[in-house]
């Protein structure tokens, strides 16, 4: 099977296109592809649209916020566009408040399902989430089994930047605990899926087929995080 291992992160994102759409997983600072985001930051692609649960955390850690601060992102699609606490004003929030970038606010479950729908080749789905709220305004409504739903469309991307725990050289992936979060659905929804691997990249055949969370058929490039890389 094809060996998809790249020697380093810079090589793996070398052709990252301006104006492309990328997905970046992570939740509660776990499963964030920090090394790949750092490489995209250095590579310098501009005019990007990001799909991510949040638009970066406070603090010095590298995350989506790093690209936002560097003016590489023109739009974020995320579940938080205002701080959950008034003291949590991130660079994204400041820039968004100053109209320096655009954002689309999506309920987290709707976002996850829109990503899954893209991966699954589904043209859309009806969900009861957001019915009766501002976010449902202008959306197609439909009563199904006596309950009102709104129509939501898939979220596709050019790139998914993924953080896995273990991989084989073909790109079969395993995640560990809450590091899984958005990673599998994003890995399956993008045209080009690039993975950073925390623990090890093993030979094809070494992973138990029953314990693979994402098939390598979805994965294009994999890089093992070096000892001096970013682990948390």
């Amino acid at each position: 099977m094809k060996n998809k291992v790249f020697p380093n992160f810079d090589e793996a994102v070398k052709d990252f296109q301006d104006n492309s759409v990328f997905m970046s997983p992570g939740f509660g600072n776990v499963g964030v592809p920090r090394n790949l985001l750092s490489a995209v930051n250095k590579q310098g692609a501009k005019g990007l649209t990001g799909i991510s649960n949040n638009a970066g955390a406070l603090g010095d850690s590298i995350d989506v916020g790093t690209l936002i601060q560097a003016n590489q992102v023109k739009k974020m699609i995320c579940a938080f566009t205002a701080p959950t606490h008034p003291s949590q004003v991130t660079p994204f929030v400041e820039m968004y408040n100053n109209d320096e970038l655009d954002a689309e606010l999506v309920p987290q479950g709707t976002m996850a399902e829109r990503i899954r729908a893209a991966a699954a080749g589904i043209g859309g789905f009806y969900t009861p989430t957001s019915v009766g709220t501002e976010l449902a305004e202008g959306k197609e409504h439909r009563e199904i089994n006596g309950r009102m739903h709104v129509l939501e469309f898939p979220l596709h991307a050019d790139y998914a930047l993924i953080r896995a725990y273990r991989a084989d050289t073909f790109g079969n992936l395993q995640f560990r605990l809450a590091g899984r979060n958005f990673n599998p659905i994003m890995a399956m929804a993008a045209k080009t899926t690039i993975v950073e691997v925390e623990k090890e990249i093993v030979e094809v055949g070494e992973l138990d087929p029953d314990q693979i969370h994402v098939s390598g058929v979805y994965v294009d490039r994999i890089v093992l995080i070096p000892e001096d890389g970013i682990f948390y």
């Binding site: 509660g28 701080p83 987290q108 479950g109 989430t129 009766g132």
Partner: protein, 238 residues
Amino acid sequence: MAEKEKLNRQTMCDRLAMEFQDGWIVNLGVGMPTLCSNYKDESRELIYHSENGVIGYGPIAEEGHEDKHLVNAGGQNVVGIPGMAIVHHADSFMLIRGGMIDVTVMGAYEVAQNGDFANWRIPTRKGGGIGGAMDLAACAKRVYIAMEHTTRDGKPRLLKQCALPVTAPGVVKLVSTDLGLFEIGTDGFILKEHAPGWSVEEIQELTEAKIIVDPNICEVRTRGNTDSNQGTGRHFVV
């Protein structure tokens, strides 16, 4: 005049946690609602679910014993318990929208007498913070709210109608404030239990909506007095 004592946050959350029944799948919002997990009752087993796909987590990890890969919805390192399962984010919300969550406890800015509540956006500020709140509010079997009875400048939060954009319409069943416990019935807020030393009239004064007084009204039951006040010691389940 000294401010009259109100219930503390732990007591407010304890009171909601007393309602959780054996075997319930529970989702606690970030912030105050997480205090619900401090209430211990050995007679029942709860399964805590977190939006990031953790089903069956335990207490907050002790310092030095954190597993960096295991966090709850607030990003706190928690301990896994035997039987814990991990799913990805789409499956995690499949569980939420599919109606598997028996109760979700959230904070709020406002709750209205028809069960509407608002907790994601202040119109004077740009944007909002939804996270998983809209999915949980629309689809959990029960929505409980833990919040202070009034705003910082003393304005009521239990309203006839929400002034802020709602998170979900008509879903709130139970509200625990620092002044009492309110069930939302077809006719509005029913005051079931009041904070010690607070009269119905005093609570009504700080409430915009008209309060209906439960005929069996009593003091808010806490860890120490669950059995003494109510005779039977039984909790009601909404």
